[in-house]
């Protein structure tokens, strides 16, 4: 379900790439400091996006150096710790935890064993995160209960389950003020888009397993790529509009790249099937 939100590197300025990488590494360090050695394993590009949008508006950012979690011999440039980064870290752990629980429930006993083992490892971190961000934890849990009820009853609407997941992500933003409204709208449509992209990506797999899939439920067994792409484009449009109304300071250009270029390309890859290959690749490497 994760990993769809990434920048389109060739159009990224070097300084924006540095900022992206520093945010990724900074979030990793924040996870390690707050939650120990296991939590950074669950870090992904979507959580980095969350950290970027939650950040306070700043005209510039302070880089600092720190040891890499994956390879302690290397020092890397990182964003300094801030309340926004801590919030993103808490929410990342909660999202990763519920994603694991979701896999445990979806799979059978044996297929679910890896997720079960991982969730056992993540449990202490989750407990702490749920104490730090109780409202978010409650919102996620509530939305997932709603979502699984809709899936059980084979809901024929595309918007209803997508709305549930969208509200889940929306609750990651602070609720109050103009900034909250802008972030809420941005994350709502991101959540909707991710849910639909994921549904399209799982179409084949779900068909074989005979599982519920919102795309099949809405458009029939063959799906309808044209209509689905249009409705996903509309969410991308709303995200772009919200982005323009927010103050993201030095992070604007990076966020614009992700929303206007990265997401449409990922969407295209999901539709033509090349996503299965692309999602495994890392952003950082340059070894062509």
């Amino acid at each position: 379900m994760f990993g769809y939100v990434r920048p389109f590197r060739p159009e990224l300025k070097c300084k924006d790439f540095d900022l992206y990488r520093a945010t990724y590494c900074g979030l990793c360090r924040c996870l390690r400091r707050r939650y120990g050695l296991i939590a950074p394993m669950f870090l992904n590009f979507d959580f980095t996006f969350l950290a970027l949008v939650l950040w306070e508006e700043e005209e510039g950012w302070e880089p600092c150096r720190g040891r890499c979690h994956a390879n302690p011999l290397v020092k890397k440039t990182m964003c300094v710790q801030s309340p926004a980064l801590e919030l993103a870290a808490d929410e990342s752990v909660i999202l990763a935890w519920w994603k694991l629980r979701d896999s445990v429930q979806d799979e059978g006993f044996f297929a679910g064993l890896p997720a079960r083992a991982l969730s056992l490892l993540l449990r202490p971190a989750y407990r702490k995160a749920a104490r730090q961000a109780p409202d978010f934890d409650r919102a996620v849990r509530g939305c997932l209960v709603e979502l699984s009820a809709l899936e059980r009853e084979n809901c024929p609407s595309l918007d209803r389950p997508a709305d549930t997941f969208a509200r889940l992500l929306q609750s990651a933003a602070p609720a109050e003020g103009t900034r909250g409204r802008v972030l809420g709208q941005l994350l709502y449509h991101l959540g909707r888009w991710i849910y639909l992209a994921d549904a399209r990506d799982d179409l084949e797999e779900d068909r074989q397993a005979g599982r519920y899939n919102p795309v099949t439920a809405r458009y029939g067994p063959q799906g309808d790529d044209g209509a689905l792409a249009l409705t996903m484009d509309q969410s991308l449009g709303r995200m772009g509009e919200a982005l323009q109304l927010g103050d993201f300071g030095c992070r604007s250009a990076l966020l614009e790249n992700m929303i206007y270029l990265g997401l449409p390309l990922v969407q295209r890859a999901v539709f033509d099937g090349s996503w299965a290959q692309i999602k495994k690749q890392k952003i950082w490497r340059n070894d062509t």
């Binding site: 709208q185 969410s235 449009g237 709303r238 509009e241 323009q244 270029l261 950082w284």
Partner: protein
């Protein structure tokens, strides 16, 4: 009021041409057309007002307070035509419209579902509520139905046309047109670049 130059994002020493260009770009960004029926439309309207005022102030200052400059900015007249320009003959529909504009979507929905006879306007309003909620698929279906029932209504057709352009609308310079302009090969190249290129 904020410094008009910082509102437009130019330095006070910028030429008239640069000021105008910056103003045009911002006006394109926050134009009410881009935020029709958007739940954040009021924020865009505020921004638009701010940049209009800033531009007017600068042009006034630069022309020495002289006569001709005032009506150069645009945008001010749009909002009113969308919000108040269309009216409903039906009392309930008028009420639903004002509730939608006030952001009371649950109330508007409840009221709308009390109406038994479902005509073009019913579907249009139902589509507007869905659009505001972010339920794009249902908005699309309802708008299509409204246009089907009343093909000559410009308001319904315009709403449907906005939905059909997908992610269109404003793009900052450099992102214009999205990826559609690219041919097949470039697209493949691009997809590889999503992750830093090639065989990693």
């Amino acid at each position: 009021m904020r410094d008009p130059y910082s509102v437009l994002g130019v330095s006070p020493s910028a030429s008239d041409e640069e000021v105008k260009k910056a103003y045009r770009e911002l006006a394109r960004k926050y134009h009410p057309d881009n935020y029709q029926n958007n739940p954040l439309a009021d924020l865009a309207e505020e921004k638009m007002k701010e940049i209009n005022e800033a531009y007017d102030t600068i042009t006034k200052q630069r022309s020495g307070g002289g006569g001709y400059q005032s009506s150069q900015s645009y945008g001010g007249s749009y909002q009113s035509s969308y919000q108040g320009g269309y009216s409903s003959s039906n009392q309930t529909y008028a009420q639903v419209r004002s509730m939608i504009n006030a952001g009371d979507l649950a109330g508007a929905e409840r009221l709308l579902f009390q109406v038994n006879q479902r005509d073009g306007e019913w579907y249009f309003l139902s589509g507007s509520i869905a659009y505001r909620k972010g339920w794009m698929d249902e908005a699309m279906q309802n708008y299509s139905r409204a246009v089907q029932l009343e093909p000559n209504n410009m308001e319904y057709r315009q709403a449907l046309a906005i939905m059909q352009r997908g992610a269109g609308g404003y793009r900052p310079a450099g992102y214009g047109g999205g990826m559609d302009a690219m041919d097949c090969c470039t697209t493949m190249l691009c997809l590889n670049c999503l992750c830093g290129g090639g065989h990693c």
